[in-house]
């Protein structure tokens, strides 16, 4: 049986998602402050952790909807 190929919509979402994550990583437009959120979490670390959470969700979706298993 031939593997199920990703739809054009999913391919488009994959490209758009990767591009959006890249723009959010190249974040020279952002105020990279040094404040502590809730008194213990550095703002910079919180931003990066949030980004990593987003990219993890993206990868989980990517593996399910775009990556075709060809075994």
């Amino acid at each position: 049986m031939l593997p199920r190929m990703p739809t054009t919509l999913n391919k488009t979402i994959a490209w758009a998602g990767a591009l959006a994550l890249l723009v959010l990583h190249l974040d020279f437009w952002r105020d990279r402050g040094t404040a502590l959120l809730m008194g213990w979490l550095p703002q910079e670390l919180a931003w990066r952790m949030g980004w990593m959470l987003l990219s993890t969700l993206y990868l989980v979706w990517f593996c399910r909807s775009v990556w075709v298993e060809e075994d």
Partner: protein
């Protein structure tokens, strides 16, 4: 028990453990070359994940990153960890997955052999072999030096550097020769668990120590009171926009071009396994990188005033200051584990490439394995000699290597994803990329300039990569249909 005795006991236990795991893995293995070099192409999720993660994470993450964070603060996390958490899994999909399938189809066991067969061109394989080797040897020398220095420092000079380095090479060589890929993969499970577990535990202990018993919150406030800039990102040097963009490209693409990583991806039992690994990778990177960076940031509060490369000692200083002897011994073992988990893969991969890419594959099924073992010894001796006679110049080559691997990625990717891509395109891409890369290095200040801007603020790696892409297209269209070889399947 004094710290030195604790360390010796832990060291003996560690060596016995990795040798034991190596021997056990050997008992499960067959004797074919496919079994020796690729674990029978049958590694599942857990073992392959730890093998990849252990190979990917060198002692630099445990020692060099805290040293850099000591000066640059959280910016070290910002510029590295997020982009590799996305980039590395995507390269596993883009290059690793089709490489695994095509290698199985063509019976290839090394990356250079794969591309040589794909293009029907021995020249492509030889050129790839040359660059893989040139870029990997300095890496191995740096790793050996790190392990040797650690052993000498911890044993207060009782183990001289040359003996320590030789001993690490011999232990890695023994279990690698015994069981090949399967032995290195299983020992990487142990080694990865040691250094990952240690870093997570140490993070909480160090935070409590620096924070005066108030945990992470107390430690963060202590950092803010000491130097708030450590909680932000610098705006100059590597953190300026063009350099940041170049570095993002380098660090996210380079890993899949390590031959010792790519060959492990070729050992996966299925695409499903690779998918599972891609889901796990970001979580593991956070678990390792966040503590590694915070060790350096907390260290800046605990031991202010270190200058330049002195900060590379901050990991050892924090371990000695805040951990009891038994746990501090584990800290130094974590460094050794990180070194060896990369070194074994490099010995195996370079040995297999010498065996199958330089010599022609043997008709005797056990002939390749014998040659692979012999070449493993040759590689280990070469690394030892380079370390002892190469001097400081070898260490500056390591940063050249790190970015240099990226010059191979256009050919690695297009060779698997573009049917028309041919041998001329691959050769033009690789040679052109490296020519431009070294010109850019020269413009950036020579071999020490891999992380300095070359032209328009961009690092040499960016120019090498762009030249590789251009060379691939030009070479392919100007080279006609010769050397198109076996067209790969280009699904997703």
């Amino acid at each position: 028990m004094d710290p030195l005795t604790s360390f010796f006991i832990a060291l003996v236990a560690y060596v016995a453990l990795v040798l034991g795991v190596g021997v056990m893995a050997t008992r499960r293995a067959g004797s074919s070359s496919e079994e020796y070099f690729l674990a029978g192409r049958g590694l599942g999720t857990l073992v392959l994940f730890m093998a990849l993660f252990g190979t990917n994470c060198t002692a630099f993450v445990l020692v060099g990153i805290p040293g850099q964070s000591y000066h640059d603060g959280l910016g070290v996390f910002s510029i590295n960890a997020p982009i590799i958490a996305l980039g590395i899994p995507l390269t596993f999909w883009a290059i690793g997955s089709p490489a695994r399938r095509l290698a199985r189809e063509l019976g290839a066991m090394t990356p250079a052999e794969l591309y040589s067969r794909r293009f029907g061109s021995r020249a492509v394989g030889m050129v790839m072999f040359a660059f893989f080797t040139v870029y990997t040897l300095p890496y191995m020398v740096t790793a050996i030096r790190g392990a040797a220095v650690t052993l000498t420092v911890v044993t207060e000079g009782r183990i001289p550097e040359w003996i320590g380095g030789a001993a690490v090479l011999v232990v890695a060589l023994v279990y690698t020769s015994l069981g090949g890929m399967r032995a290195t993969a299983w020992t990487n499970v142990v080694q990865g668990a040691i250094f990952l577990g240690f870093m997570i535990a140490a993070f909480f202990v160090f935070a409590n120590g620096v924070g005066g018993g108030e945990g992470i919150g107390g430690a963060m406030r202590a950092v803010r009171d000491h130097d708030p800039d450590l909680l932000g990102v610098k705006e100059t040097g590597l953190y300026a926009p063009a350099a940041w963009t170049s570095w993002s490209l380098a660090i996210s693409l380079t890993v899949v071009a390590f031959p010792h990583m790519l060959v492990r991806l070729m050992a996966a039992d299925s695409d499903r396994t690779l998918k599972n690994i891609c889901r796990l990778y970001p979580v593991a990177l956070i678990a390792l990188w966040a503590p590694a960076v915070m060790v350096g940031v907390f260290g800046a509060v605990a031991f202010p005033g270190l200058e330049g490369k002195e900060s590379d000692r901050i990991f050892s200083m924090m371990v000695t200051e805040y951990l009891p002897p038994a746990l501090s011994a584990l800290g130094f073992l974590a460094v050794l584990a990180a070194v060896m988990s990369t070194l074994d893969a490099q010995i195996l991969t370079l040995g297999s490439m010498l065996s199958r890419d330089i010599l022609r594959p043997s008709k005797d099924p056990k002939g390749d394995v014998r040659r692979g073992r012999a070449f493993g010894v040759v590689i280990a001796v070469a690394v030892f000699v380079l370390w002892r006679v190469g001097g400081q110049s070898i260490f500056s080559l390591a940063s050249v290597s790190f970015s240099g691997y990226v010059t191979l990625t256009p050919a690695l990717f297009l060779g698997l994803r573009w049917r028309r891509f041919n041998a001329a395109g691959a050769l033009t891409s690789i040679l052109g990329a490296n020519a431009v890369y070294f010109l850019a290095l020269e413009a950036a200040g020579g071999l020490g300039g891999a992380m300095s801007p070359a032209w328009f603020g961009y690092l040499p790696v960016m120019w090498g990569f762009l030249a590789g892409c251009a060379g691939a297209v030009l070479g392919t269209y100007l080279g006609g249909q010769r050397g198109a070889g076996v067209a790969p399947a280009t699904g997703t």
